[in-house]
């Protein structure tokens, strides 16, 4: 270690992984992973979400949830930005996931044609 600056640089680099244990308020994506969701391909959706977040180096908490009753519309994801309403998107493909993350998570614009529910 040559300097304090070098240590801080290293800290910034290694901090990202530790953020997964941070309980603070962050953007959240919840993937529907009930049996219905998994049958409709939710695992691939989840992987696509993770890949996109990693690619764009975003600070997003990814969790899963069970069946919410809209099995017909699986795979489903919820996007919840801090202080904003929760949006549920349905009938998703992996390409849709990229679009939702680019448009909604990064830029804050809801992708209306994929929305199936809004929660206050």
């Amino acid at each position: 270690m040559k300097s304090l600056a070098e240590l801080k640089e290293l800290r910034n680099k290694v901090q990202k992984e530790m953020k997964k244990r941070d309980q603070g308020t962050r953007a959240e994506i919840i993937v529907g992973m009930g049996t219905c969701g998994i049958a409709a391909g939710a695992r691939d959706i989840l992987k696509a979400v993770l890949a996109e977040i990693e690619k764009r180096d975003l600070d997003v908490r990814v969790t899963q949830t069970g069946c919410i009753g809209m099995c017909e519309k699986e795979p489903l994801i919820d996007v919840k930005l801090p202080g904003k309403e929760k949006i549920t998107y349905g009938n998703l493909s992996e390409a849709d996931v990229q679009k939702i993350i680019t448009e909604h998570v990064v830029n804050g614009n809801i992708v209306s044609d994929l929305v199936i529910a809004r929660h206050k």
Binding site: V14, Q15, I38
Partner: protein
């Protein structure tokens, strides 16, 4: 792009407590189950140090949700993976249940045991992988060392520690800043810093948990101390009975060397520091600083008279600073957050927090860290969850075998160095043993004295002979052969041993006896004059059990548990206990479904 993108971290406590309740097999099962579900690349398993809640181990925390599972066994893994990690549904039956309310608590921050704690020395314990230096750095690790080495001069560092009001956490409570000042002021071309991790008190595991859970914090604390006093070499003296602590510390030293945080020209400051581990063979007296240094030098672990103090003539005759593990663990916080921030915590004479190993007849056995000035009642009843099985509190022993026992009247006593001393006990390194109505205080005193007596190194007469004589008297009393004047003799001997012994071991060894005489003299008197042990512990003094023939239903349950076969009878007719054979162990009493058994 990396092969693995982790969406979730599963923290498994692999401190010694959780390992003994099955954490290692739990981890293996989880690895297998994740692989079977093709989740290995998404879920990261992190082995951490002790969370402190050893009572409920093995402990598992699932992030990002922060769900706290306790008493998790290998059998539970399939359900956790299927339900929680795959489908996102919390496995409710594994959540912690508050013993008082039966309420299920998903997040550990909300459990009473954690809610009322303030963690400085233990801040990272259970939160990071102790074998991954990056995780320590991610949480701000080594920034205090960096700041000290590049921006502060040694006197500033000493002044900061003085202003913080940090006192030695190993037992004595000597102001740390002052100790550093003495070592800094000593002239010498070579100086040493030592970390005393020779934790020997029965029931104490604070130092072990810190070394196991956050070893880099100790390295950083020692680095700061070394810079402050001008030392370039250090030793961690740790008992060989702590293999996991040693392994993690070795790994931590290796990693720190690789990162250039130990070695030469650290932070380009021109400062060098080399750190060694010295394994002790587990003699209690080696926790005494002069005995410890003799042991490092390869000599027999015996104390030498002070002065000269180690700060003047220590290891190999060179000026040496020696602090306890927990003391060093507080240093990074003090440097990062400032002396004022630290001294604002706790009481005026005792700033900061203290870690206690909570054991004995208590619901939440474990490791707790509370601000100084917290009352015994808060620690025992609010954090510790009270006593088990509806038993009544009788006494709490602080300070390990060198401390004393305090009765119920002292539950509101704020815990700090001075108030504990005034009450006839001491802070010590932080053992806290809780006793209920079934504990005999004479027997407790005998137990602790037996420990110190056998650990006495034998160098000075008061400790060698005095503790032996005291133990003989106590043995006599518990055997039912106590005599008039025994109590007075114990008091006299105790005072002499305290004032004339060479080192802290002898100076404090009589404390358990003196404090129990002070607060529970009636129990001693009952043993001596009435030949009775009120708690029913001393087997020579308790009378045999009898069965009420009219109440007995002849089920025979009592006879099955009797270890000496004193109970006989025919099924469906009254049983009897042979009073000459009965050892009054009391095993039969709780077995009886109709409460027909009692002491004569």
């Amino acid at each position: 792009m990396k092969d693995s993108i982790y969406r979730s971290h599963v923290l498994i406590c692999t401190g010694t407590g959780c390992v003994s309740s099955g954490a290692n097999t739990l981890k293996e099962s989880l690895e297998e189950e994740l692989a079977a579900n093709d989740l290995s690349g998404e879920i990261k398993i992190v082995e951490t140090g002790c969370h402190g809640f050893c009572e409920k181990g093995p402990i598992m925390i699932v992030y990002p949700e922060g769900v706290f599972y306790c008493e998790v066994q290998s059998d539970d893994v399939a359900e956790i993976v299927e339900e929680h990690l795959l489908k996102g549904r919390t496995v409710e039956r594994l959540l912690f249940k508050e013993p008082m309310t039966d309420e299920q608590i998903p997040s550990y921050q909300d459990i009473d045991f954690y809610k009322k704690q303030q963690r400085i020395a233990l801040a990272n314990c259970g939160q990071i992988d102790p074998e991954d230096i990056d995780e320590y750095i991610a949480l701000g690790g080594y920034e205090a060392a960096g700041k000290v080495l590049t921006e502060m001069d040694p006197q500033e560092v000493v002044d900061t520690v003085k202003d913080a009001g940090l006192r030695g956490r190993g037992g004595g409570g000597f102001p740390t800043g002052l100790k550093w000042q003495f070592a800094k002021n000593s002239e010498g071309d070579k100086k040493y810093v030592i970390c005393n991790a020779d934790e020997g008190d029965p029931g104490a595991f604070m130092d072990r948990s810190i070394l196991e859970g956050d070893p880099h914090r100790i390295i950083e604390g020692m680095l700061v101390a070394a810079y402050a006093i001008g030392a370039d070499e250090g030793y961690v003296y740790v008992r060989a009975e702590y293999p996991l602590a040693i392994k993690r510390l070795e790994k931590a030293i290796e990693d720190a060397e690789e990162y250039g945080l130990l070695g030469e020209n650290i932070f380009s400051s021109g400062f060098n520091f080399k750190l060694h581990i010295k394994k002790g063979a587990g003699a209690f007296v080696c926790g005494e600083e002069t005995a410890l240094m003799n042991s490092i030098e390869g000599k027999r672990g015996m104390p030498t008279p002070r002065p000269p103090y180690p700060a003047v003539r220590g290891l190999w005759g060179k000026p040496t600073n020696i602090n306890n593990v927990e003391t060093y663990a507080n240093i990074p916080y003090i440097i990062n957050e400032g002396a004022d921030s630290f001294s604002a915590i706790g009481t005026e004479g005792s700033s900061g927090t203290k870690v206690f190993a909570l054991t004995g007849k208590i619901n939440n056995t474990g490791l707790v860290e509370v601000p100084m000035g917290t009352t015994l009642k808060e620690v025992i009843f609010e954090i510790g969850g009270g006593l088990g099985k509806g038993k009544k509190f009788k006494a709490v022993q602080t300070g390990g075998p060198s401390g004393g026992c305090l009765p119920e009247d002292y539950l509101d006593l704020p815990i700090d160095y001075d108030s504990l001393l005034d009450a006839g006990t001491m802070m010590g390194s932080g053992g806290m043993v809780v006793m209920d109505e079934d504990s005999c205080m004479v027997d407790v005193a005998r137990f602790f004295l037996n420990f110190t007596q056998s650990e006495s190194c034998g160098k000075c007469t008061p400790c060698r002979e005095g503790t032996k004589r005291m133990l003989e008297i106590l043995n006599r009393i518990t055997d039912g052969e106590g005599k008039d004047g025994d109590i007075e003799l114990l008091l006299e001997l105790g005072e002499h041993i305290k004032s004339t012994s060479l080192c802290g071991l002898g100076q404090s060894a009589p404390n358990p006896v003196l404090s129990t005489i002070r607060y529970f003299r009636d129990e001693y008197e009952a043993h001596i004059h009435d030949h009775n042990c009120p708690a029913g512990v001393c087997s020579d003094l308790v009378s045999a059990y009898v069965i009420d023939e009219e109440a007995c239903i002849g089920c025979g349950k009592c006879a099955k548990v009797c270890p000496v076969d004193a109970i006989s009878g025919e099924i469906k007719s009254p049983f009897t206990i042979d009073p000459d054979v009965c050892i009054a162990c009391g095993a039969c009493e709780p077995e009886c479904p109709v409460d027909a058994i009692s002491q004569a």
